[in-house]
Amino acid sequence: MFELLVILIPVLPLAAVLLNGLLGSRYSHDIAHRLGWGSVGLSFLCAVGIFVETLRTGVAREVVAYRWIFGGDLTVNLAFLVDPLTCIMMLVVTGVGFLIHLYSVGYMHGEEGFTRFFTYMNLFMVSMLLLVMGSNYLVLFIGWEGVGLCSYLLIGYYYDRVSAAKAATKAFVVNRIGDAGFLLAIFLIFVNFKTLDYTQVFAQASQLSTGMATAIALCLLIGAVGKSAQIPLYTWLPDAMEGPTPVSALIHAATMVTAGVYMIVRNHVLYDMAPVALTTVAWVGGLTALFAATIGLVQTDIKRVLAYSTVSQLGYMFLACGIGAYTAAIFHLMTHAFFKALLFLSAGSVIHALSGEQDIRNMGGLRSKIPWTHALFLVGTLAIAGIFPLAGFWSKDEIMAHAFTHGQYVLYAMAAIGAFLTAFYMFRLTYLTFYGRSRLDHHVAEHVHESPAVMIGPLVVLAVLSVIGGFPGVPPESGWFHHFLHPVTVAAGGGEEHGAGFGLVATLMVVATAIALLGWGLAHYLYSVRTEAADNLAARAPGAYRTLLNKYYVDELYDFLFVEPAKRLGVVWDWFDRTVIDGIVLGVGRLTQSGSAGSTWIEKHAIYGLINVVGYANHLAARSWRRLQSGKVHHYAAIIVAGLFILVHLILVWWSGSSGIGVASR
C-alpha cells in the first residue's frame, strides 16, 4: 500500500499528461483541466498519506519501481526515497501545485492551447516530483532536466512572441550549463563511491578527502546555481517571466527554482565536509540576495519585480545552506513557496483585471476596484517583507539570526540590508499598483474587474498559509518543523548546536522587524506621501539609476563574452571547414586527377602507341580512350589500386625487415 501510494504520486500526473497530450484535442477544455488539477489533487492526497505514515513511523523508506540503467559495476534503479525532507517537498510541490492548477482554470480560460498548457503543467509536476522523490542522483537528474524542459515549454508558451521564444531558449541553455556541472558531480560521486544511491553515498561520505568533497560540492553547486538562478547564472529567470503568470508562480517561484536549495540540503553531508564549498554557497547566496534586491528597486514590470525578488529570496536560502542552517533553508523554501505563489497569482489577478497590463507605471489606485486582490497581495507583501508574525518573518529571521549567532557578521549585514531593500521594493510595488491616483489607460479602466472565485479561492488558501505557515517553525531552531527534519539535516558529526540565548534571539527579532518597518516606511514616504521624491532621486543619480534599470548590463556582458564569440567561432570554423579542410581534400583530388591523367597518358602513348606501331586502327584507340576519360571513377580506382600495390609492398618490406614474415627467420 505504501509503495503503491508513493509510486502513484508521480504516476497520476503522468497519466494526465498522456491523456491530455494524446487525446486532448478530442474532448472539451473542461475535461482537460479537470484531469489536470484532479490528478495533482489526488497526488497531494497520496502525499498527505505518505506524510502521515512517515510521521508515525519516523523511518526513511526506499521504493524501487524498476531497474533503469545497469551493466558492469553500475546499477541505477528508478527508485524513490521517502524521508522527512522528501515529505515536506512533496507536500509543498503537490499542495501549492494543486492550488496553482486550480487558479489556472480561471486564468487561462479562453486561451489558445488551453489543453497544451495543462499538459505541460502536469509534465512539470511529474518532473518536479521525480526530482524531490528520487533515491539516487540519476532520478534526481531526470527531474532536474525535466523541469528545465517544462520551464522551456511554458516560457515559450506564447511562442509567437519573439521575446518569449528567446527567453525559452536562454532558460534552457543557461540551465544546461548548470546541468553540465551537475553531471560532473555525478561522475565524481560514482568514481569515488561506486554507487549513485543517496543512502550508500552518505554512509560512506566520511571516507572522502576534503579536496574531493570540495570538488563534488562545488560541481553540485554549479548545478544548483543554474537551476536556482543565483549569481552568475541568474539571468534567465527574469526573462522567464514571458510565460503565463501561473507558470511564473509554480515554476519560477514556488518549486523548480528551489530545486538547487533542496539538492544542497539533500547533499549536506558532502557539504559539511567541504568548508570551502560551504563558504562559497553562503557568499553566492548573500551576494545574490543583495544584488537582485537592488535591481528589484527600479524595475517597472510587476512580474519582473517579483522575479528579482525571487532571485533574492533564493539567495537567502543559499545563504542559510552556506552557514549550515539547512532546516532554516527548507523552512524559508516552504514559506517562500506560500507567499511568493500568492504574490505572483495576485499579480496575475491584477494583470487579468487590467486585460494584460503589466507595467506598474500604468497602474495605481486599484485598491477599491479589486479589493480582494488588493488584500491578498498585501498579505503576501507583509509576509515577504518579514512583518511579525507572518510566515516570512519566522523563516527569514531564523536565517539572519543563525548568521549572527555563528559569527558571520558580514553575511548578516548583507542579509539585513537585503531585508530592508525587500521591504522597500515590495511596498513600492504595492503602493504603485494599488494606491495613489489611477494612471490607467481609459480603455483598460472601463474593463477592470475582480477575478472569478476559481482564482480567488486558491489565493485565499495561499494567504492563510502565508500568515500561519511560519508557526511550525516556532520557536526558532527548535520548532516542530526542526524536529521533523532533524534526522535528515543533522550534521554528520553530531546534533545542531543551540547556542543562542533567549535574549539575543528576541533582540534579533526586534531588529529584523525594525528593518522591515524601516523599508516599509521609506516606501510609504516616497510612493505615498511625497510621490515626486522618487523621480527626483532617480534624476539626481542618473548613472546609478540607469545601471540598475539595465540590470547592471550583465546580459550585455554575457552576450559580449560568450554568445557572440561562440557564433563568430562558428563562422570562422565553418569557413575553415569549407576552405581549408575541404581544400586539402580537393587538392588531393586534383593530384589524383593529374595522376589519373598521367595514367591515361601512359595508356594512350605507351600502350596504344605500341598498338599503333603494330598497326591497329588509330581511331579505335582514340575512341576507347575518350570513353575511358568520361568515367572518372575508373581512373580514381586505378590510382587507388596502384597505391594499394605500393603500400602493401612497402609494408611487407618493412615487416620482413623488422620481424620476418616467413618461418625461416624464426
Partner: protein
C-alpha cells in the same frame, strides 16, 4: 567470445539475402509505381519481421556469437562464409531493417521518377548493410563494405535533390574507397600474421580471415599499432571522424533523404572499431599514443561539430555537423575502454539511428513542404504544423540527450565511462552537452517559434498518414530506450563484458587457444557448439 550458438535454420542468410531477392523480384515486376511501392514495403516489412524474430530468439546477457552459419568459401585462402551476431551487432541489424521500412514509407510520395530503380537500389543497399553487420569473416565483411558503395552512389547521384549531387556522390565514393584500401591492407596483414603463427605452430588452416579465429592468436604490439592505423583509415573515413568528414555535409545535403537517413543513422565506421579494431588489436587500442590521438580527434569533433552546427542556416547541414559531434561522443566512449564507455557508445550508435536519422526524416518533411531546409524559408511553423513541431522537438531533445529519452542513457554512459578513464577528456566532452542544446534549440526557436515567416500565409499540411507513422514509431523507440532500456542493455551487456575482459587481458598475454574441433550439445532449440581447446605445444 569463442562460444558459438547455432540456430535451427539459416536465419541470418535469409536476413541477408531476402532484400536482395526482393530487389530482383522488384526488377522483374511491371513498371507500375503502386505495385513497386507495395512490393518494396512488403519486402522491407518482412525483413523487419525476420529481424524481430532474431531479436526475440537472441539469448541476452551472453557473449556468444549466435545464429552462427559457417561455410567454406575459398578454402585455400582461408576465406569463409561465416555469419553470426552477438550483443554488439544484433541491434544494428534490427535497426537497419527498421530504418529501411521507414525510408520506404518516406519515399512513397517523395520519390517521383525512376521509382522502380530507386527501390531496387534501396533494397540492394539494405542487403549490403546487413552483410556488414552479420559478417564474421573479414573478407566477407570487406566485400559488403565495398558493395555498399554501388547502390549508395546511384542513390545520391540519381535521386539527390541538390545541384551538386554528382560531386557529392563521387566525393563519398572516393573517400570511402580510399579509406578502404588501407583497411584492406590491414586485413591482409592480419591474415599474414596469422599465417606466420600457424606455420610456426603447425596449426591448421594455414590462412584465415575468420574473425573468431584471428582472435585466438597473439599479435606483436608494433604490428597491432600498424594494423590499427590501417583499419583506422577505412573506419574513420566512413564514420566520418574529424578531419575526414567533409564528404558528409555534401552527401547529406545533396543526396536524397533516404540516403541521408542511412548515412547518419547507421554508424558503420564506429561499428567497425568496436567489432574489429578493439577486440582484434586490444594492445594497440590501449596504447597511450593511440588513445591520445583518438581522444583528441574525438574531442575536436565534439566541439568543432557543435560550434559549426551553431551557425548553420540549413537544417540538413546543421544535422551533418551535429552528426559529426555525436560521433565524437561515440569515439570518446569507445576509447574510454571501460564497460560504461563501450556500452554507452554502442547504445548511442543505435540511438543515433532513431534521433539523428529521425531528424533527417523531419528535415525531409520540411523539405517536402518548402523545397528547402534553409532557415530563410521557415519561422513560426509551430502554429502551422503543430504535430511536425512537436515531433521535431521530441526527437531533437532525444538527440541532445534529455533524460527520459534514449539519447540521455547513451550519452550519460559514455561520459561516465570517459570520466572514469580520463577525467579531463570526460570534462571537455561534457561541454558538448551545453553546445548541443544551444545549436538545436536556437535553430528550433528560429524555425518553429516567433511570427510566421513571409510566404507562409498559405496553408501548410501537418503530418499525416505515413509521415505520422514514421514520426510516431521513432518517438516510441526514443521513449522506450529512454525510460526502460533494460531489454537493449541486456542484449549488449554480455558482449560488452567480454570485450572489456579482452581489452583488460590484451592479446599478448591471452591464453592461446585454438579452435580445433567442435562438439555439439543440443539444448532445447539451441544447439550449442562448445569449443574444445588445445593448449599449443
Amino acid at each position: 567470445m569463442l562460444e558459438e550458438l547455432t540456430f535451427g535454420f539459416p536465419v541470418l542468410s535469409m536476413l541477408l539475402f531476402f532484400p536482395l531477392l526482393g530487389a530482383i523480384v522488384l526488377w522483374l515486376l511491371d513498371n507500375d509505381d503502386d505495385l513497386i511501392k507495395n512490393a518494396a514495403l512488403a519486402v522491407a516489412g518482412l525483413e523487419l519481421v525476420l529481424a524481430c524474430v532474431v531479436l526475440l530468439h537472441f539469448v541476452p546477457d551472453s557473449a556468444a556469437m549466435q545464429f552462427v552459419e559457417r561455410v567454406a568459401w575459398i578454402p585455400p585462402l582461408g576465406i569463409g562464409y561465416h555469419l553470426g551476431v552477438d550483443g554488439i551487432s544484433v541491434l544494428f541489424v534490427a535497426l537497419t531493417a527498421f530504418l529501411t521500412v521507414l525510408i520506404v514509407l518516406y519515399s512513397w510520395d517523395t520519390v517521383r521518377h525512376q521509382v522502380k530503380t530507386y527501390f531496387v537500389a534501396l533494397l540492394a543497399l539494405e542487403t549490403t548493410i546487413v552483410g556488414v553487420f552479420v559478417s564474421l569473416d573479414l573478407i566477407l565483411f570487406f566485400v559488403f563494405w565495398e558493395l555498399m558503395l554501388i547502390p549508395s552512389y546511384f542513390l545520391i547521384k540519381l535521386w539527390g535533390g541538390g545541384a551538386e549531387r554528382q560531386y557529392a556522390a563521387l566525393k563519398y565514393v572516393l573517400y570511402t574507397l580510399l579509406g578502404s584500401v588501407f583497411m584492406l591492407v590491414g586485413i591482409v596483414l592480419l591474415d599474414l600474421n596469422y599465417h606466420e603463427w600457424a606455420v610456426t605452430n603447425h596449426a591448421d588452416p594455414p590462412y584465415t580471415f575468420d574473425f573468431l579465429q584471428l582472435l585466438t592468436i597473439p599479435i606483436p604490439i608494433d604490428r597491432q599499432v600498424l594494423i590499427f592505423w590501417l583499419l583506422f583509415m577505412g573506419l574513420a573515413f566512413k564514420a566520418p571522424m574529424f578531419p575526414f568528414h567533409t564528404w558528409l555535409p555534401d552527401a547529406l545535403l545533396e543526396g536524397p533523404i533516404g540516403m541521408a537517413v542511412i548515412l547518419a543513422g547507421i554508424k558503420l565506421g564506429t561499428y567497425g572499431f568496436i567489432r574489429f579494431s578493439l577486440p582484434l588489436l586490444p594492445d594497440a587500442s590501449r596504447n597511450e599514443g593511440v588513445v591520445t590521438v583518438m581522444m583528441t580527434l574525438a574531442l575536436i569533433a565534439i566541439l568543432y561539430g557543435a560550434i559549426v552546427a551553431l551557425i548553420q542556416p540549413d537544417f540538413r547541414r546543421l544535422l551533418a555537423f551535429s552528426s559529426i559531434s555525436h560521433l565524437g561522443f561515440v569515439v570518446v566512449g569507445l576509447f574510454a575502454l571501460n564497460f560504461q564507455g563501450l556500452q554507452g557508445s554502442l547504445l548511442t550508435m543505435i540511438n543515433l539511428g532513431f534521433s539523428t536519422a529521425g531528424l533527417f526524416f523531419l528535415a525531409g518533411f520540411l523539405y517536402h513542404r518548402r523545397q528547402t531546409t534553409n532557415l530563410a524559408a521557415f519561422g513560426g511553423l509551430a502554429r502551422k504544423v503543430p504535430l511536425l513541431a512537436t515531433f521535431l522537438l521530441i526527437i531533437g531533445l532525444a538527440s541532445i540527450g534529455l533524460p527520459g529519452t534514449n539519447g540521455f542513457v547513451g550519452e550519460f554512459l559514455i561520459l561516465l565511462g570517459a570520466f572514469k578513464a580520463y577525467w579531463l577528456y570526460g570534462t571537455v566532452a561534457v561541454t558538448g552537452v551545453i553546445l548541443g542544446a544551444a545549436y538545436f534549440l536556437w535553430y528550433y526557436e528560429r524555425a518553429m517559434f516567433g511570427p510566421l515567416a513571409q510566404g507562409l500565409s498559405h496553408t501548410m499540411a501537418d503530418l499525416k498518414g505515413r509521415e505520422l507513422v514514421i514520426a510516431v514509431s521513432l518517438s516510441v523507440m526514443v521513449f522506450w530506450i529512454g525510460l526502460y532500456p533494460s531489454p537493449f542493455l541486456r542484449i549488449m551487456n554480455g558482449s560488452v563484458q567480454a570485450l572489456v575482459d579482452r581489452l583488460d587481458r590484451g592479446a599478448q598475454v591471452a591464453k592461446i587457444d585454438v579452435l580445433l574441433s567442435t562438439g555439439r550439445v543440443v539444448s532445447g532449440k539451441w544447439q550449442v557448439e562448445r569449443t574444445e581447446t588445445r593448449r599449443e605445444p
